[in-house]
Amino acid sequence: MNDMRLAERTVDTQGKPIKFSCRDVQVYYGDKHAIKDVNVDLEDKTVTAFIGPSGCGKSTFLRCLNRMNDTIDIARIEGKMILDGEDIYDRRVDPVQLRARVGMVFEKPNPFPKSIYDNVAYGPRIHGLSRNKAELDGIVEKALRGAALWNEVKDRLNETGTGLSGGQQQRLCIARAVATSPEVLLMDEPCSALDPIATSQVEELIDQLREEFSVVIVTHSMQQAARVSQKTAFFHLGNLVEYGTTDDIFTNPQDPRTESYISGKIG
């Protein structure tokens, strides 16, 4: 744990403002203690990667950041998760509003069975982000351009989103999340169902998204974490073992468990 705090201090010196500040987070699934004492500060306009072996709790922790675990009856969360000075588990916070601020992209592309346009316009519509059709058109185009999908789909916006290829579907889901203009974008293994070309497109996209949002990405691929993220957190058995700049984690890990994992000895 000392190592982790050391790492945190070095991170703070980088100077970007803290977006999410998590203190003593515990998550229980029924009797199972899935996340133990996690303290982490996520920076604004930064890509943070969560890595670790399967079942280490990285996805669980990610889903806490926009309270998606609320939909699971047996999940129980303790501790503080402060987004811009406000605890998101405070009773005054409405999870619906929170999820508009903290968007999410899932492991498997899950476009709605609607047209491409309606998929992207879904969030803006339910949150009333546009006053008229022209404005909505603008939001949709901007989101699709943001997801590097506009050129591929601009002539068939009325075709169904489920008819796209896997990589296109995942970029559509990213566009859908971006269209709501969230402050934080959570990505749960967004490339695990994609082929290498689609993966590299999505990775490029993640790098661009950093200019507007803070992005948190869970990944199984250490290469991917190294390619897209500036900060990396290594989870193991529900503990946050080490957190620091991606360079430090991969070249100079402080904890022996981190070193074993990135060198392929555990996980």
Partner: protein, 484 residues
């Protein structure tokens, strides 16, 4: 031996064949069953199949064909002089069969011996008295009695021949298939193809039954339309059957009643059932769901006659006293509204249970995606779940509609039997199914249009539900292209 005992014997032989076949397979491989092509069980089954199948088939064909052949032979022996003006040949034949049956009973009960029965004639007073004393009436006509004795003799010979043929065939099959068994014999393949053939036969039977039902409806309907003009049937607005003649058999009042009642039932059942399904699948905790779902499904287990009683005793008077009469809509306890409401209650579990399954089949990832964008559960249901589940829900609704159209008991007790066209939902009306029952109950002459109209009505009903199913299929297919 009667066909039943022949069948039992054949099956017993098949069992013996199974045991022998298995044992022989084992000994043919000299104890090392790895040398066999198939496991010994398959050799057993193979022998059992060859024993039972051909002889059972023979039994089936024989049992179906024997009455036809015997009837024809006996019929040919009845002299034309015996056919009087008042009796047709068919009536005489049924008398012959009845007499033969009575004679058989007398022999079985030991009142007369087999040879006495064979020698029986109307002049033989002693025997006929003996029979009469035992309560067995022998027909007074000599040609009929002769024909009846012929009939018995034919049948007796035929069943002896059948017993012999079936048992010989079974034993031959047993011996032949046992002789085939050697290690290289592909018993498993034969058993597998038998299984496949059996399954195909079962599905063909279902199709053949449907075709048979349709054909019988069609032929009887054609007979009806020869007696009654089709324009009057399809476009007549009056339904006043009378067996004395001069009936008006217009189906429009019945069609109107059917559609009106079904519509009210669906208006009632679809929203409630669908919302109940949405609650159960999207909002309820597993504990609540585990309690609510079975309770709703109990509704589906209630016999429709009980719903009918409920309509007759409770809902009908309630609607009359609290709604229809005060508002001046009439004072009939039987009404379209009563039947529609009660039928709606009956349909709730259909709609809710099917919709619940369909909504549950919508992938969780779509729910997560929608919730993850910050939509509320109800927005998720409205914008994502229902559109994705729509084809299935439409299917469920149309299934419920077919049920509503075919429902009889609730209508009889809830809406009455009065055929009329009226817009007032508090009037008594009736449906096609009720009138089919009405036209066919009691003693019927199946040559009069008043009876045959039931088949035309049945055919109409069948075409309606068929059309509904086709529409459902088209909708489902159209949306499936869009949503999957």
């Amino acid at each position: 031996m009667s066909p039943f005992w022949i069948m039992v014997t054949i099956l017993a032989l098949a069992l013996v064949g199974y045991i022998l076949g298995r044992r022989r397979a084992g000994s043919s491989a000299a104890g090392d069953i790895r040398k066999l092509h198939s496991r010994p069980t398959y050799y057993g089954w193979n022998t059992a199949i060859w024993t039972a199948l051909p002889s059972l088939l023979l039994l089936l064909v024989w049992v179906l064909a024997q009455p036809l052949i015997v009837d024809r032979a006996v019929n040919g022996n009845i002299p034309d002089s015996a056919v009087s003006d008042s009796q047709t040949r068919g009536q005489i034949m049924s008398e012959v069969q009845g007499t033969a049956f009575e004679l058989g009973r007398a022999v079985n009960e030991g009142i007369v011996s087999q040879s006495e029965a064979r020698a029986l004639s109307l002049d033989d007073a002693a025997t006929t008295e003996k029979l009469a004393a035992a309560g067995i009436e022998i027909t007074p006509s000599a040609p009929v009695l002769e024909a009846a004795k012929d009939y018995r003799a034919f049948n007796l010979n035929a069943s002896r021949a059948l017993t012999g043929a079936a048992l010989v065939l079974a034993l031959a099959g047993l011996a032949w298939s046992l002789s085939q068994i050697k290690p290289g014999y592909r018993a498993r393949n034969i058993v597998e193809s038998f299984v496949r053939g059996f399954l195909i036969l079962c599905s063909l039977l279902a199709i053949a039954t449907t075709v048979g039902i349709v054909l019988s409806l069609v032929f009887e309907s054609i007979r009806f339309f020869q007696l009654y003009p089709w324009q009057d049937f399809f476009f007549g607005t009056e339904w006043t059957p009378s067996f004395g003649g001069g009936s008006k058999l217009g189906m429009l009042p019945l069609l109107w009643g059917t559609l009106y009642i079904s519509l009210i039932a669906l208006l009632f059942a679809v929203p409630i059932g669908l919302f109940a399904a949405i609650y159960m699948s999207e909002y309820a905790t597993p504990r609540v769901r585990g309690f609510v779902k079975p309770v709703i499904e109990v509704l589906a287990g209630i016999p429709t006659i009980v719903y009918g009683l409920f309509a007759l005793v409770t809902v009908g008077p309630l609607i009359r006293d609290w709604i229809a009469a005060p508002a001046g809509f009439g004072n009939s306890a039987s009404s379209v509204m009563t039947a529609g409401l009660v039928m709606g209650i009956m349909l709730i579990p259909f709609v809710s249970s099917l919709s619940d399954d369909i909504i549950n089949a919508v992938p969780q990832s779509l729910r997560d995606g929608s919730l993850g964008l910050g939509s509320t559960p109800s927005e998720t249901v409205r914008n994502v779940i229902l559109p994705a589940a729509l084809p299935g829900i439409v299917g469920a609704i149309l299934l419920a509609a077919s049920r509503a159209i075919g429902e009889t008991m609730i209508v009889v007790l809830g809406a009455g039997a009065m055929a009329r066209i009226s817009g007032n939902p508090f009037d008594a009306m009736t449906t096609i199914t009720v009138k089919i029952v009405g036209q066919l109950t009691g003693d019927n002459d199946f040559a009069s249009p008043e009876t045959l109209v039931a088949f035309a009505l049945g055919l109409t009903l069948f075409v309606m539900t068929l059309a509904l199913n086709i529409v459902a299929l088209v909708i489902v297919r159209k949306y499936r292209e869009q949503y999957e």
